[in-house]
């Protein structure tokens, strides 16, 4: 926790208490720590001089922020319109079956988190799944098991 707050302080140092940069600071903290802990939010509230409720308001309004830690591997399935029309819901069903968690959840062993995204902008590859920043396109569903198993070994 000390380590985590040290990282938060470093990030906040960049913004010099500029209130309009609140969302930017939270984005950096989310990326660094993979979540926004209560302590991190309290620190942000102090540094920016913004009430904690307002900081929570922003943290819960935007999809990029999570108040629970994310797993080691991040799996996103695109549900944009083009992917939808190409069968993304079916792909999502297979991913849910394989990971045994629903979108927004993290597996109990903290290995995998699953999210849906509303358009990655790779519509030619639809339906698309991203695992740890790697894109997998034109998926039928059968490949999901293999992709996830490969990650499990990592």
């Amino acid at each position: 926790m000390v380590q985590e707050l040290a990282e938060v302080d470093e990030i906040l140092g960049k913004y010099g208490g500029d209130r309009s940069a609140l969302i930017q600071a939270l984005l950096d903290i989310q990326r660094e720590n993979r979540w926004l802990s209560k302590d991190a939010l309290k620190r942000v509230s102090q540094e920016f001089g913004i009430p904690l409720t307002q900081v929570y308001h922003i943290s819960t309004f935007y999809k990029a922020f999570t108040l629970m830690p994310k797993g080691q591997h991040l799996v996103s399935v695109c549900l944009g319109t083009a992917c939808h029309v190409r069968g993304a819901p079916r792909l999502l069903d297979r991913v849910i079956e394989t990971l045994k968690i629903k979108p927004g959840e993290t597996s109990a062993d903290m290995r995998f988190s699953l999210d849906t995204v509303n358009c990655l902008g790779c519509c030619a590859l639809g339906p698309v799944m991203v695992v740890d920043g790697e894109y997998y396109g034109k998926l039928h569903g059968n490949e999901v098991g293999q992709i996830i198993s490969a990650k499990e070994i990592e």
């Binding site: 307002q54 308001h57 999809k63 944009g80 029309v85 509303n118 358009c119 790779c122 396109g137």
Partner: protein, 641 residues
Amino acid sequence: MPRLSSATYLEKFRKEILDHREPNKPCVTICSGTGCHAYGSEEVFGGFVKEIQRNGLKEKVDIRRTGCHGFCERGTLVVIFPEEICYVGVKPEDIAEIVSTTLIENKIVDRLLYVGDDGNKIVRESEIPFYKYQSRIVFGNNRLIDPKRIDDYIALGGYSALAKALFKMTPEQVLEEVKEANLRGRGGGGFPAGIKWETTRNAPGNTKYVIVNADEGDPGAYMDRSLLEGNPHSVLEGLIIGAYVIGSHQGFVYVRQEYPLAVENLNIALEQAREYGFIGTNILCSGFDFDVKVHRGAGAFVSGESSALMTAIEGSVGEPRPKYIRTAVSGIWERPSNLNNVETWATVPLIINKGADWFTSIGTEGSKGTKIFSLVGKVNNTGLVEVPMGMTLREIIYDIGGGIPGGKKFKAVQTGGPSGGVIPESLLDTPVDYDELTKVGSMMGSGGMIVMDEDTCAVDVARYFLNFLAEESCGKCLPCREGIYQMLKILNRICEGEGEEGDIELLEEIAGVVRDFSLCALGQTAPNPVLSTIRYFRDEYEAHIKEKRCPAGLCKALISYYIEPEKCEACMICLRNCPVEAITGGKNLVHVIDQDKCTKCGTCLEVCPPRFGAITKLSGVKMPEPVLQGAEVIRKRGGKR
């Protein structure tokens, strides 16, 4: 690199760049937009660097990573200049052959060429039908520049429009040019940019802001991302010109954090622009100061609405606010703020350089210039296309898009994202034009063009969009928050087979309230997908409600997978692939799907060999009696039945 201190110096510098470049020197360009990146373009780039080095060609051949070319269906795209040889679907394994055959022996690698419908192979990129019918005045430079190198942009004439505006025109003259060009907002609203600029310019107050809206939230639309990734300077140049007209010294670019490459390239472009003196104090020694801040979005569709975006820039939650006073007069921190879309800004330098007369010669009476669309969904040539306003949907989908894959029938094209509607086959000759598209119940929108075929369910499309909007609604106003939710409940019931008489009329009634009384455009346009699907596909709604039948065979609750006993050849493929082991049978035993176990995943239909075609989807009809246990597949002598 010392700052460029005048327009003359800029021209001198441009000439120096061009003098150092040999126009006929071979150059391998590799498309490195996010789409091709997903195909592995980084590996392809790395492979070329190594292979060219290995063959001692490092001094003789340039390699350039460019922005998105647009033909995303065929990535990774590699185009070799000066001949403009276009290779599609390039993988790392192909590199050695390309280097030895094309770069060393000056011959073509046939198997990597695009093959036309007539079977002919096409060598030059611009002759490929996908590109041939387009008019890539804004997007075209993407393929020629490395977005991380400002010199590439300058070499093509970049920032000459800015120099012209600053030194040869007054702000009023620039404004007149943009007004005469009738440049309408490319983000979806279609409001004349010149009039918005004028309002902001004339608004009281000394501190004014200009903003680039790069929060491209419509699912399926990625034009702005590719422009910002591939040619960020074109957007910045337009922004600085706009700031000059309006009298603004501070600009913002609000960009989705889901676009990391766009954020990266934008930041690099800003750094380089500052270094060269295009941004900062005393730009090109004109006396004009202007700087830009980048603000990342954090994942909220509604924050792309202009007043919401401005609230987010202030550091608060990005919710829309009532616009009794236009944001052009009272925007960020209640100061006059002019917001325009990425594509709108990128069009400005062209208008200044080539003039309003040239711009208005393209397009229709009410819609001038070109528009970039993301042509996606059930279409052969998925990608980004730029066409003159007035081209018909049919031409875009068939001539450029190559029609519908798999021999399926076209059903509808959806434009305008969640704010738009569907356009059926009977209206395919509608020209792409702000007003014409609104007349048929849709809208131009930001440029998403989603093609749908016979397997797409119109009711499901409406449900999809409402589901999206229900999640994205900020919740502030009742008509939107409650109205969308109630419409979604009705649509869910209909798709689950629990539709009731009167549902369609109820949907229409709620839609009217949501449309007329919501605070912002998210709510006001939310009913469009529902109303337009009812307008053109009412029969599908009625089939779902009255017959519990999904004509497209999509809605899971209304379909059943069935193996036709006469066609089943007992090959066991579906049996083995069923993820929930719902199929019983065996060698020489007709396979049967247990409807209670079946999850409707569709795997069996996909894997059943086409020559048997034994699996079918039934909807709205009674399931045939199950085959008796142990019914054998009777085989005639010779193996055929």
